[in-house]
Each structure stands twice: as structure tokens, then as C-alpha cells.
């Protein structure tokens, strides 16, 4: 990931390349970091108090990442298209489905509806940051999902797991109704709520036994 950490997109110039180097697996290369929705954003007038600078440092999954971020860029886009953290999904991009849920200072929020510039100085945790970085061991929420065989298509899974993580951190002793309430910001179109609640209750159980 080393090369991916400094990305300059201050100018996006038209350059036609007629050959393809190949498909890039997520996280495997740096050059993919240049894809993005925006390119012509205004540079903030730096003399004005409070104007946001574009080159910022983000704390994502415990790592400091230097990244060039447009003022109008959402966190989900930065994660997916600049930092290659594609585990954070975009299901609706409108704060309605929860597939983009990430933890910002431990609080679950919609990545699609947070400007990246708003999380400077915060610590951001995505689905990729849940495993133990040293051992690769799954987090207890992830383990709970394995135990219960959770999720079907699983496009919603990263978001649900982030919400479950926030839930068990806050209340490791929820009732099923409380768990449902805590997860009510995430949508599962496979309708797998029953099993998801089982996962959440199992996660809480694991959390209590730690």
C-alpha cells in the first residue's frame, strides 16, 4: 500500500492510453488510487479562515494515510477510490441502506454521507480494519457471524458488521429488541434479519465472555 499513500489529483489531464496493463485486484497496487468521481473541484482559498486544504492525513484502520481529497468528496468515495478499501460498499449513497457504515472514533456513521474533510483528526475504522493486524484473527463480531453462518449476498455485511461492532462496544448485553434497534440503520434486501440478529446476539455473547 506504500505507494498509494500519496496521491496527487490536483490536475486530471486527458491522457489516452491504448493499452491495458491488467486488472488490479483491490489493494494490490497503487496506481488504481487515481480513480475518482471528481477532478475539477475548486481549491479552497487558503487565506480564508477555515478553508479546507486538500492534501490531508487520515487515520484509517490505525494507519496514517496522506491523501488528496476534494472538498465535495465523501468518505465512502475516498475509501473506495483513493485508498482501495472497497469493503465499504455503496448501496444507495444516500444514508439509507447502511452498506457504507464505518466507525468514526468508534461511532457508526454512514460513509456515503460524511465529507472526508470532516474526519481529519478522527480515527476511521472500516471492515478491513477489524481483523487483528498482527495475527489476522477475526474480530469477535466477525467470529460471531461465522458461528451463525450469517448473511446471504452479503453486500450489506460490512455495514452490518460495523454497526454490530459499535453496538457490542456500547452495550454488550442487549436484548434482541435492543439489538434490532441498534442495527436499524442497515438494510438487508435478502431479508436475512433473523440470522443477522442471531449474529448480533452471538457477538454480544462473545463480547461478554472476553
Amino acid at each position: 500500500m506504500g505507494e498509494a499513500e500519496s496521491i496527487g489529483l490536483l490536475e486530471t489531464k486527458y491522457s489516452r492510453r491504448n493499452f491495458i496493463k491488467g486488472v488490479i485486484a483491490v489493494g494490490a497496487t497503487a496506481s488504481s488510487a487515481g480513480y475518482f468521481i471528481g477532478g475539477s473541484g475548486l481549491l479552497g482559498a487558503q487565506s480564508v479562515p477555515g478553508a479546507a486544504e486538500r492534501l490531508i492525513t487520515l487515520n484509517v484502520n490505525g494507519q496514517q494515510r496522506r491523501v488528496d481529497v476534494l472538498p465535495n468528496e465523501t468518505l465512502a468515495m475516498t475509501l473506495r477510490y483513493r485508498l482501495n478499501l472497497t469493503g465499504t460498499k455503496l448501496g444507495c449513497d444516500r444514508a439509507e441502506c447502511g452498506a457504507c457504515t464505518v466507525l468514526i472514533d468508534g461511532v457508526n456513521r454512514y460513509g456515503c454521507s460524511t465529507l472526508t474533510h470532516q474526519v481529519r483528526g478522527s480515527s476511521v475504522t472500516t471492515i478491513e480494519g477489524l481483523e487483528n493486524p498482527d495475527t489476522g484473527e477475526l474480530s469477535l463480531v466477525q467470529q460471531a457471524v461465522i458461528d451463525e453462518g450469517g448473511f446471504q449476498c452479503a453486500f450489506c455485511a460490512p455495514g452490518f458488521i460495523m454497526s454490530m461492532t459499535a453496538m457490542v462496544n456500547e452495550n454488550p448485553n442487549p436484548t434482541r429488541a435492543e439489538a434490532a434497534h441498534a442495527l436499524s440503520g442497515n438494510l438487508c434486501r435478502c431479508g436475512d434479519y433473523h440470522k443477522i440478529l442471531n449474529c448480533a446476539m452471538r457477538a454480544a455473547e462473545l463480547a461478554r465472555s472476553v
Binding site: 482559498a45 477555515g50 472538498p71 444514508a95 454512514y110 465529507l115 474533510h117 459499535a166 440503520g185 442497515n186
Partner: protein, 332 residues
């Protein structure tokens, strides 16, 4: 020009750390400025590319706007205090349960973690004609598409309309009116305090705004007076889904009671008008009465007097009537 959605147009982002700086920025950018609180209403407008501010002033970095503090009499809530903080605040939960209840009914946990009280009461209406970018009265055009005879207006207003039939979407607005909250609005030069009731304005007064806030204004604080602390509260929101849904009709009521006699009451309904509707007539009726089912029924009937249904929202009349009935009944 072809229409396209789902891409936030470019803007300049400002993240001031003081209210003063924010006001300066707002003044500098005038009509081109956009105040960003939690942003959940704003991003919709941006992503639809309907609102295209030049400068977005993000209030997230202004510490003085967040937090709940004890005042001599009541509470002072910074406008940027998140709904989750309100829900979890001990005094709000115990003394002003109505507000905690209301805040808890907002959308989803993620939205409550980010959305602010100030933003929740300042958000724009969800009339889907208006939100689709159609040139209706509210958007500066010359018609109301939602009030047309065949229009889809199940979620629109039954009272307080004037050309525009949109409803106030907020879950907390009526709770704040019921608590007789005071809104502190700062402009570049002056600072005004509004009763919550006066903070929300209808289309008869200004069809393009839902609150008194004008370009350059900042809602900084919401004060909850002690007057209604520990009153008997009733909050109920009827919605189609259990989460992420705006109210069809919702009631917030505060009663001072002795036994089942109501000494004083503030009863406010939302989802039925372009602003939270305080039911003075119902309050007069119940004040000094000892509540029984007959009073509750009468309260419900009086509540909807003068309401006028559109094609698809007639159900809001009984729904509102019933909710008011339940609120009054809850005292018995």
C-alpha cells in the same frame, strides 16, 4: 440541459472553528453559502445537483455549538449537539423525556450519531415534488404539483397550507414547541431569541423557507426552559416503517397534572402542516379538566377542525385526531 443526479457538484469547503468566523464566512458568501450541520439533508440536495452552493460552511468544527449544559432554569443545547447525545443525556432522559423520545425516533442510529438537533429542526421538507427539483412555488416556480387533483399527496399537509402543501419533516420540532424551547439565532450583527413556536414559519409567510433562518443566520443554541421539566409527556410517531421513515402524523404533548386533572398543557402535532401545529383550542379545552375518555375524544375532534384533506391524505384527519386523543387519554 440534461438532468443528472448522484454526483456532488464542486464547492469550496470551509470549516471554521468559531461562530464568529462562521458568520463572517456566511456574510461573505451571501446567497452562495450553505450551512452544513450533520449534512444528512444537505447531501441529498447536493447529490441531486439541485442545490449548488459555492461555499459550504461546515459547522462540525465549532466546539461552542455542541454539548448540553445545565442552565439556571432548564437546559442549553448547542445546535450542533447530535441526536444521539440528546437521547443519552441523563437530564434530557429524566426531566425532558419528550425530547429524548422525539430524538430517538429520528431515522436510524447512524443518522442520530451524525444528525444534530439544530439540523433536525432546520431541515427542508420532503415533499417529493419539491425534492425532485420541480419548479414549484417553494422552489420559486408558479404551481404546487402536490396539490393538483390527481397528485400523489398521501404524505402532505391537511392544515396550515397556503399554495404549498408540504409538511414539516422534523421529529423533534413539535417536541421543542411543546417544551416551549427558545431558539437562539445569531446573525452577523444581531442575535435573536425566538420561541420555538415562532421559529417555524408557514408558506403563507414565506413559501421558500420553513424557519425564520435567513441567509447569513446561524441557529446556535436551543434552550429548554425548566418550566415543563418532569411534566407528563406523550410522544407518538406513526410511520410506515419502523426506521428511516418520516412521520405520517406525530404528536408531542406536555401536561402539568394533578391526578388526572390537567393544569396546563402544550399539545403539538407534526406531519400535518408545513410547520409544527400547536393546538391552542385543544389546550384550552383540556386545561383545568379532569380527563376521561369523553374529553379525550372531544380533544381529538377539536384538533382537526378546519383541516382540509387532499386527495390521498384524508386518513391524516382521523390519524391526527386519534393521536391527540391518545395524548390526552394518557393523562387519565
Amino acid at each position: 440541459m440534461a438532468i443528472i443526479r448522484d454526483m456532488i457538484p464542486a464547492f469550496e469547503l470551509f470549516q471554521p472553528t468559531t461562530v464568529e468566523d462562521a458568520l463572517v464566512l456566511l456574510a461573505e458568501h451571501g446567497q452562495g453559502a450553505w450551512v452544513l450541520a450533520g449534512g444528512l439533508d444537505s447531501y441529498d440536495w447536493f447529490k441531486d445537483r439541485i442545490k449548488r452552493p459555492e461555499a459550504v460552511i461546515d459547522l462540525g468544527g465549532i466546539d461552542e455549538l455542541t454539548g448540553i449544559s445545565d442552565a439556571q432554569d432548564g437546559l442549553e443545547i448547542g445546535a450542533m449537539t447530535t441526536l444521539t447525545e440528546i437521547v443519552r443525556h441523563e437530564r434530557v432522559r429524566s426531566e425532558y423525556t419528550l425530547l429524548a423520545d422525539a430524538a430517538e425516533h429520528v431515522a436510524t442510529p447512524q443518522i442520530r450519531n451524525q444528525g444534530t438537533l439544530g439540523g433536525n429542526i432546520s431541515q427542508d421538507t420532503r415533499c417529493w415534488y419539491y425534492r425532485s427539483g420541480w419548479p414549484c412555488y417553494r422552489a420559486g416556480g408558479n404551481t404546487c404539483y402536490a396539490a393538483a387533483p390527481q397528485a400523489m399527496n398521501r404524505e402532505h399537509a391537511i392544515m396550515g397550507t397556503s399554495r404549498c402543501v408540504a409538511v414539516s419533516p422534523s421529529d423533534t420540532a413539535h417536541a421543542l414547541v411543546a417544551l416551549d424551547a427558545k431558539m437562539i439565532v445569531r446573525g452577523r450583527r444581531s442575535s435573536n431569541v425566538y420561541d420555538a413556536e415562532d421559529f417555524f414559519i408557514g408558506p403563507a409567510t414565506d413559501i421558500t423557507r420553513m424557519t425564520v433562518l435567513e441567509s447569513g443566520d446561524l441557529l446556535t443554541q436551543i434552550n429548554i426552559p425548566g418550566e415543563w421539566a418532569n411534566a407528563h409527556f406523550y410522544y407518538e410517531k406513526v410511520r410506515d416503517r419502523g426506521s428511516w421513515d418520516f412521520q405520517l402524523v406525530s404528536v408531542a404533548a406536555a401536561f402539568k397534572t394533578s391526578g388526572n386533572t390537567i393544569d396546563d398543557a402544550r399539545i403539538v402535532v407534526n406531519g400535518v402542516a408545513p410547520f409544527p401545529v400547536r393546538l391552542d383550542a385543544v389546550e384550552r379545552l383540556v386545561r383545568g379538566t379532569s380527563v376521561d375518555e369523553a374529553v379525550a375524544i372531544e380533544a381529538g375532534e377539536i384538533a382537526i377542525q378546519g383541516s382540509h384533506a387532499l386527495k390521498y391524505n384524508e386518513y391524516k384527519q382521523p390519524m391526527m385526531s386519534n393521536l391527540v386523543r391518545r395524548a390526552v387519554r394518557s393523562v387519565a
